[in-house]
Amino acid sequence: MSFLDVWYLIIGNPVLNVLIALSHLLSGEFGLAIIALTIVVRLISWPLTKRQLKSSKALQDMQPKIQELQKKYGKNQQKLQQETMKLYKEAGVNPLGCLWPMLVQFPIWIALYQAIIRALATTPENLLDLAHRLYSWDIVNQAIPLNSHFLWLDLGSSGDFILAIIVGGTMWVQQKMTQAPAVDPRQQSTSRMMLLMMPLMFGFITLMVPSGLALYWAVSNIIGIITQYFFTGGWGYLKFRSPSQSTQ
């Protein structure tokens, strides 16, 4: 059994079939099925998200202490970095922890990307290939072929600018809410770059992947923003000024 066979057996085909089954349950609306799947994925990854939110909240609470360190070791960057990391370690916090839920979702993205293309079957080859991947569930077979239209989107096509802006914008907000401002000026530039680069990158990629996948990203980001807002009790670092800004 090759890696691809294992991939389709464990992830690819289950995601495809669940998505189609959800579509049948939701009045044949494939877009709603993607949204429902997004919620399911977010629920499954909730323990990880919760950990990340706790970490984020802890970082937020630590800001006064970090600012003290900034004042104390402002001229000795190496010492400042050491002390900051020590503080993070003591609090059990990882400043890059917000990235892990994203990384964990990568296999889901890949499976979803494949599932959307397969399920919407834009070519006869895709449709024939789909026949070989469907489970024998009635609910799945009765849903085929799927309707690719949802709101203003064609979920099987790429290049929607509005969706690209939504994906990029929501990703920026979510990251801004969770990403603790760096203390070290060199780290600050990296953080700033990361904060901008990821939303821009995803906005750009949205223009090239099927809108269905971008819909997943947008909904996932919005769910992330909502949970972050209620879990940490506010907009987090979205309204927070970095230590360097506050000392200027």
Binding site: L4, G12, Q81, M85, L96, L99, M102, L103, F106, W109, I110, Y113, Q114, A115, I116, I117, R118, T122, T123, P124, E125, N126, L127, L128, D129, A131, H132, S136, D138, N141, Q142, I144, P145, N147, S148, D154, G156, S157, R186, Q187, T190, M193, M194, M197, M198, M201, F202, I205, M208, V209
Partner: protein, 408 residues
Amino acid sequence: MKQPKILLLVVIALLPLTLVSCISGGARLAKGWSGTAVHDGIIYVGTVDGRVVAINSSTENLEWSYSIAPVTAPSSGLSCGQTSVTTAIYSKPVVDRDIVYIGTYSGQVLALNMLARSQNLTFPQRSYGEWEWDCPIDNAKSNAIVADLLLSEDAIYVSSSNGRVYSLDKEFGDLNWESKILDEKHRKLWTSPVIQGNTLYVSTFDGHIYALSLETGELSDRSFESEAGFASSPVIDEDTIFLGSFDRYLYAVKIGSDLPMWKFPEEKPAGNWFWASPIVNEGIVYAGCLDGKVYALEADTGKELWQFESQDSRGKPAAIVSPPVLVGNLLIVANEAGNVYVINPETGNSERIKNRKNGDKPTINAQIRASICAHEDLVYIRGEDNRLYVVDIDKREVSWDFPLTIEE
């Protein structure tokens, strides 16, 4: 500390790119699987590289080849702009006198004159009766022609991926009429229409069988609606329509009836879709299924007479994509794994045609998806390896094969 962070940043940034450019497992380009047609000793077939070729079945030589102009399409992946793409062909050529008609995935219907093509004249030679017709996109995603064209005495009927059926004048390619959009939800009309009397019947992915006036294209009230979409083109025998559905049943519907006469299997659905159109002969329906089986059923009742499971070289069931054909009193079935079977239509007893080089291998070393055709004792098959295979049913062997990829 800084370096690992930058590295992480780069990795994270590159992963989505990898997602787009490398994980192409779901995407498949339209390559086409044009079937074969035989007329006056010449075999006509569409190729993977966008040609229509004519091969002399006696001399086994190429008579002529016409390369359909490539189409421009948006570049895939991360590159921008337009790219030139070979035209895919799914419909089989249909021949009437000295004209070969073919529909393309780029939304064209071409009428090719045999003499003009053998002289390699510029297309279209109107004085030779050649024409081309561009199907409008009509606010749809595509105008692709996937279904086989249907010829009548003076018209040609075309199902388009824009959801409409078109009637064209056979001689000049002028539009006679266009139907209303038959499948608003999917738009894809990938099934061929069929004529009965003065009515055209079309099945759709949203589960309808529509009846259209042959003269005007107007819908009559004799349409049938099913819960599941129809996967195969309809076939009519006397006053009954037979066709396969995505819910894994084969339906028989009396023309004008709101309810199916029967559906097969009676209880549990089959193992997969009935993708290929069934054939009906002397009151028996022969239906190939993507579960690898051929079912013989009484046309009146849907009662199963026998079933036969086709296999791949590992002994596993292999899907039947192309419709079976009858050669004399024998049923010929080709499966996706490349095996060709000769079946007794009365008993279901079968014999696999062996590969002449290695008997354990499939009959031909390529997938078979295109519709096959038979003439006298020979069956003509286009393999997915872009070769034409001629199978001699009497001798139970592949008689000869011909490469369809022609190097310039």
